[in-house]
Amino acid sequence: MTTELLEPFVRMLDEIASPAAVRAVEAGGEWQAMWRAIAASGFLDALVGEDQGGSGLTLAQVEPLLQALGASAVPLPVGETMIARALLAHAGIAAPAGPVVLAATQGQPVPCALVANHALVDTGAALAVTPLSEMEVTATGVHGSLAAVLSGPAQSLALPRPANGLRSIAAVLRACLIAGAAARVCDMAAAHAAQRVQFGKPIGKQQALQQMLSVMAEDMVACRIAAQLGCAGGLDPALTHAATAKITTSAAAPRLAASAHAVHGAIGIAEEFDLQLLTRRLHEWRLADGSESYWSGQLGAERLGAPMSSMDFARTP
């Protein structure tokens, strides 16, 4: 079922979210047309139950789509909106039109908040759908970033908070996006190493490059599997699954970005080269919704409270 979905989804992203289109949105351009195309595709309700007009897919089934969003550096909160719409539908609340971001924090930047209409705000007691026009939206000023700090009182239109809060599911989403971008930067680095000639042969023939690229591949596979592990529990992931997914992907993200840039050399730093669309996001998603150390602290506390072997802990959700 997932393959049938993935192909049209990727085709759509190729059409509407080309690197040029991504750059245009990042530069403050119009994003509504891109959003309308995504909304018209019906994919936003992939996680909404069939009885409520959605596709009734599980998060695990949708995971390849979330990876595709990461791989294409889509500059809109598509995964966030999918999750928000599913949580809202589950609570019997009509979803607002337009993009929704997941605001698990009011202290640090929320990715894509500059290109959204609403936020699903975790108040600690409930989740509240809040129009961004009623919140304070403070852009970060980071070049090309669409993230912003959101603050202000949440609206009263509230729905039950997942047992592990909004940050857990948001972290799983980030893990999927990182996994998708990881796959793309690995492909780009391997392709570049195979065609870039120095010292009379492709640089990918150098053992030093081969060793670095093979470690990238290991990190890429680890990110994919960890993201899938995070999705296994659905929209209210167990802390262990969410933490494992975010720790593995967040720890790998800067390594992958650094190696991809190292392979590409100076051209990878250039704005007109597409690599930076992905590596800037790898860093942003790593920091969003808790870095590897945040989740390591959470997971470590849970582990130390569990009188069992590490093998048992690793295999039990």
Binding site: D187, E218, A226, S296, M311, A314
Partner: protein, 381 residues
């Protein structure tokens, strides 16, 4: 890239084996110190392996008609992770069960299968793998040990070294040259079953830096082997050997080598009630969970009948990196609290794993060789 490696779940039939092996281990592993359990791979206990065989915990992937359990790679995954987590002494059956029996099943004659596989499943035949030689480590294709055809079969001359458990083994599956010279590289290599009790075989154990003797050097001086010592096709030894290494590299054993130390350290933290290591514990716990899922993904490829050579190298390289990191960071954590008492047992476990850890990324192919295999899988070579 490497799209086949994707999250897999253990089937219920495989999970059904877990309570049984766990009960067995509860009966047989009580009261054994952590530093002894940390030796798991190197722990040689023939009686223990025979008991495992009698209870049906060996030959899990092997067909019932050869004395196996016919349960497949997932059941083996469950039993192996339980054995390694408990730190059970597995050396007496490890290589035969994992590599030799599947090799003979794939390439052996009916006579070879009958002679060895049922006995391996009973834990009664100990095998070792003769690959490295004094002049051939990572460059395995340069082996010089020779077997020449004669009227009675094969006449074997040469030397193997760093052979795990050779001094305890009944048989060696040796990679030797049967034609040409070492300049012919992979061509002209064959695999032979060598009866280590045959005249002309001399085995000298080599003591390692922990004081154990887990490997040995083996000399062959005009050792006469029967005609049916040859495994598979003459000259196909390299390809057979590569397929065999996929078995060695893809199992969960490549993530659990230091897990007894990890558990002993966590028990220490729980006992002293110290909480400043939460983030380190969490990071290591996440890595173990990710590696376990990666290893299970690799097992799913084996279960689907594939030979995941590159995928297994990915899991093994990352897994051994984790295994080697554990003693480094655990040692740092313990000694970062110089006034906190640490039991002698934990200290010995830490030291043992610290000292033996370099072998984790040597056995079954070095880190550098594995990364070359991965790079080839990425189209770079």
């Amino acid at each position: 890239m490497f799209d086949g490696l994707t999250l897999a779940a253990l089937p219920d039939a495989a999970e059904a084996v877990r309570p049984k092996i766990r009960a067995f281990l509860a009966d047989h592993m009580a009261g054994i110190a952590a530093d002894t359990r940390a030796r798991s791979w190197q722990g040689f206990d023939a009686a223990f392996s025979r008991k495992l065989g009698a209870e049906g915990f060996l030959g899990l992937t092997l067909p019932v008609e050869y004395g196996g359990q016919g349960l497949g790679p997932f059941a083996r995954f469950v039993v192996v992770e339980e054995l390694l987590s408990a730190g059970a002494p597995v050396a007496a059956h490890w290589i035969a069960d994992r590599q030799s029996a599947p090799l003979l099943l794939h390439y052996g004659t009916e006579g070879q299968r009958q002679r060895h596989i049922p006995a391996i499943c009973r834990g009664e035949q100990v095998f070792c793998i003769g690959m490295s030689e004094p002049g051939s480590g990572s460059d395995l294709a340069s082996v010089r040990t020779r077997a020449d055809r004669n009227a009675d079969g094969w006449l074997l001359n040469g030397q193997k070294i760093w052979t795990t458990n050779a001094h305890h083994a009944d048989y060696m599956i040796a990679l030797v040259r049967t034609s040409g010279t070492s300049t012919d590289r992979q061509a002209g290599l064959s695999q032979l079953i060598v009866d280590l009790h045959a005249p002309g075989v001399t085995i000298r154990p080599i003591t390692d830096l922990t004081g154990d003797a887990h490997f040995a050097e083996v000399f062959f001086d005009n050792v006469q082997l029967a005609d049916d010592a040859l495994v598979g096709q003459e000259g196909d030894g390299w390809a057979q050997c590569t397929a065999e290494l996929a078995f060695e590299r893809s199992g969960p054993e490549r993530i659990y080598s230091s897990v007894v130390l990890l558990d002993a350290w966590i028990a220490h933290l729980q006992a002293v009630g110290r909480r400043d290591a939460d983030a380190l514990v969490g990071r290591l716990t996440a890595e173990l969970a990710t590696l376990r899922a990666m290893s299970l993904a690799c097992t799913a490829l084996l279960a689907a009948g594939e030979s995941p050579v590159v995928e297994a190298s990915i899991v093994k390289d990352r897994g051994t990196g984790f295994e080697q990191e554990l003693p480094v960071v655990i040692g740092d954590d313990l000694a970062a609290h110089p006034d906190e008492p640490v039991s002698a047992e934990l200290w010995r476990t830490l030291a043992y794993v610290t000292h033996i850890a370099p072998s984790f990324s040597l056995r079954g192919g070095t880190r550098e060789i594995l990364r070359g295999i991965i790079a080839r899988g990425m189209g770079l070579r």
